[in-house]
Point group: C2
């Protein structure tokens, strides 16, 4: 009950902050962001000491090496965090821009105007650098933010938020613009996602377990990133060298991320030529291959794939391969088994590329390029708060613009409705 | 359990339809829409007979006059329904348009492209004309739709959907593009709003009770329209004649709709001059006034308002009046008690108008015009599926464009990530 009261009070304070944020100019926000970066810079030692405490606790409670790596704030990571804040200060401000404007026959002028969403809750896991990223992206888009990080990073997060608050306050950031849930009570998440009328949007950043837990309880809108089950499809008329380069890059350049491919589809007419070359190259790169019957008939070394291989997100050096009889079959496979994240066709045939790009229902569809480009900075959008696999409001990389909504401003001279 | 299986199967069929819809051209969709209108026209007698049955059942079960009026399909209403379908055929097609396009330094071309959302569920109450409106708006935007209308209108809805399906099918509309939930089992709604992975968006259209019931169970995104607690604020520098005309229009022209005002705020310096005139005029129009102490000190006939008057949506000839000491107090009042729908300022002072339009957190903010203009057709957007009081994806009137989302189409020449 105490947790519920605490979260409710945070929501009420965030609403007050979000009202105050509407009168902060773009120039002032950038001054505040630079002051936040300065303060992080001045408190590097504090932040590192707090992180050392978290690391020590985490080691004692037996966190695995991968989790410890995510938790650790090295000098390089702290420097990158500070640089990230300064970069966001330099980005274009989306708030207040007029998306479209028209005049009605009765003389009413209608301006569809970009405005902040209001109060955003960010729920994340062990990585403390998400704290600074999420806070400054929300602030740049004039939203108040309530942060709920992983318990493992409690000290680190508190130190980072303290720096952001102190730096921001010095230059006039409204109180409670950036708040951190301090209780480690897991019920805090449940209360946060039920703050109808106070929290306008929840963005969970983390594994599927976290996101499902949020969805179980959510009463406010959630934009989520489930899984990245991404495909490359090699069409009958693909350039074999390009296909090999794209598959290698999309699978191996960083296999543990959401925009790496997990599946390879190959048109049956090109498979006998190209699959042996791809299989040999991927074997050199230590990729385990799993294939359907047709793939194994061409390259017998490939392990047999089971039905679950078509939906699994390995996040590892594993690739499932299927041979398809047509472009339509490839498209149907991707729409059925994929996660609507990022999928690519390799083809020299313009009609095939066009059909694929229209019919594949994913946030990002690629013609003759690697799926690894699905990323706010690779897209030229600047820093991202995450990648949406949802279909409403925002799809794919979400930058500051995707943290805004719009309102209609209607200017009249006394018009009334007939 | 049978209902659950039925709804699940409808969802699966809708997904198949939504895939097929991606290859239907804009021109073909309009041919199909005209065929739908033709078929409604040919079946006027059937539709009317079905509606007579619904009306008879409704009378027997004691529905009140207002409900019976909503349920009834007169010749005029059927003609308007048919005309509505033809109008939507004539509207601009949003699907496939390129929202923005840019080229990255590595040569990748990125096209942010408008695409359908996929499968949309519409849950509504007694009015059978919503059936045709919702179906054709979803189809025009290339979405498959699952309709769940009120039990009272079951026969009417079935007759309308049969006409739309038959007309559409004749011109190549994919099967299951438009489906109607035929069971009257209330559990159908619960199952429909939990079809994660099949239904992409739910739009409930109806009273607050329906919307709260949907939200209780929803596992898929919902865009909702709660209440219209709309305000007019008369600033110290308002033109009294304009203020009177706007208040009269916004309150009285159609008091039972969401964009009619329920509250009037008046700056304290102008209130002694303007309130007596407004109160006298509204009394002539049979409006009951409820006011705070300051309002009653000026016009003693005004009934006292209680705290709940500031949040209540009367949908009737009742108006609550508060006197405020400043523009800031008016803005704070509206943001606190309003429903973020439509709010207006009347003022000759440009700075006051600008401040109000920036700070009031509503879907539509008006300067010197009646709130009654918040409407898809008054905004020039064509027919609307509803008015959103949500803050993500769509705010205010939702037309066909708001029934779309986007994807990124990325065109390369073999680019891979460094």
């Amino acid at each position: 009950m105490d947790t519920q009261i605490e979260i409710q009070a945070m929501g009420e304070r965030a609403v007050i902050a979000s009202r105050a944020l509407t009168s902060i100019s773009a120039r002032r926000k950038n001054v505040i962001l630079q002051a936040m970066a300065d303060e992080l810079d001045a408190r590097r030692a504090d932040i590192k000491a707090a992180n050392q405490q978290d690391m020590q606790n985490a080691r004692q409670s037996g966190l695995n090496a991968a989790m410890l790596d995510r938790l650790e704030l090295t000098d390089i990571r702290i420097a990158a965090m500070i640089k990230g804040v300064r970069n966001i200060a330099g980005q274009k401000d989306p708030v207040g821009s007029v998306i479209s404007r028209w005049i009605r026959p009765n003389g009413l002028e209608i301006l569809k105007t970009r405005v902040p969403i209001g109060v955003i809750g960010i729920i994340y896991e062990a990585r403390p650098n998400v704290t600074a990223d999420a806070a400054v992206l929300c602030f740049k888009s004039s939203n108040a933010v309530i942060l709920r990080g992983g318990r493992e990073a409690a000290q680190s997060n508190a130190a980072i938020v303290a720096a952001l608050q102190a730096g921001g306050a010095r230059k006039g950031m409204p109180a409670d613009t950036v708040q951190l849930v301090s209780t480690t009570d897991r019920a805090a998440i449940q209360h946060l996602v039920q703050l109808e009328g106070l929290v306008d949007l929840i963005i969970p950043r983390g594994g599927e377990g976290l996101i499902r837990a949020v969805m179980q309880n959510a009463r406010v809108p959630v934009i989520k990133h489930y899984r990245g089950v991404c495909h490359v499809y090699i069409d009958a008329e693909a350039d074999p060298n390009m296909a090999l380069a794209i598959v290698e890059n999309a699978k191996c350049q960083r296999p543990g991320v959401c925009n790496a491919i997990e599946k390879l589809l190959i048109h049956e007419t090109i498979a006998p030529n190209i699959l042996p070359i791809i299989a040999a190259r991927l074997a050199e790169l230590n990729v385990t291959l799993r294939g359907d019957e047709a793939a194994r008939a061409i390259v017998p070394d490939i392990m047999p794939a089971t039905e679950s291989d078509w939906t699994e997100e390995y996040l590892d050096l594993i690739l499932a391969i299927a041979i398809v009889p047509s472009d339509d079959a490839a498209i149907a496979h991707i729409n059925r088994y994929g996660s609507h994240h990022s999928d690519a066709i390799v083809s020299e045939n313009a009609a095939a590329r066009k059909k694929f790009c229209v019919a594949v229902d994913s946030a990002a569809v690629y013609a003759n390029a690697s799926t690894r480009f699905t990323d706010g900075s690779e897209f030229g959008m600047g820093a991202e708060i995450g990648i949406s696999t949802d279909k409403i409001h925002a799809r794919g990389p979400m930058g500051v613009e995707e943290l805004t909504t719009y309102k209609f401003v209607v200017k009249g001279k006394g018009q009334v409705r007939e």
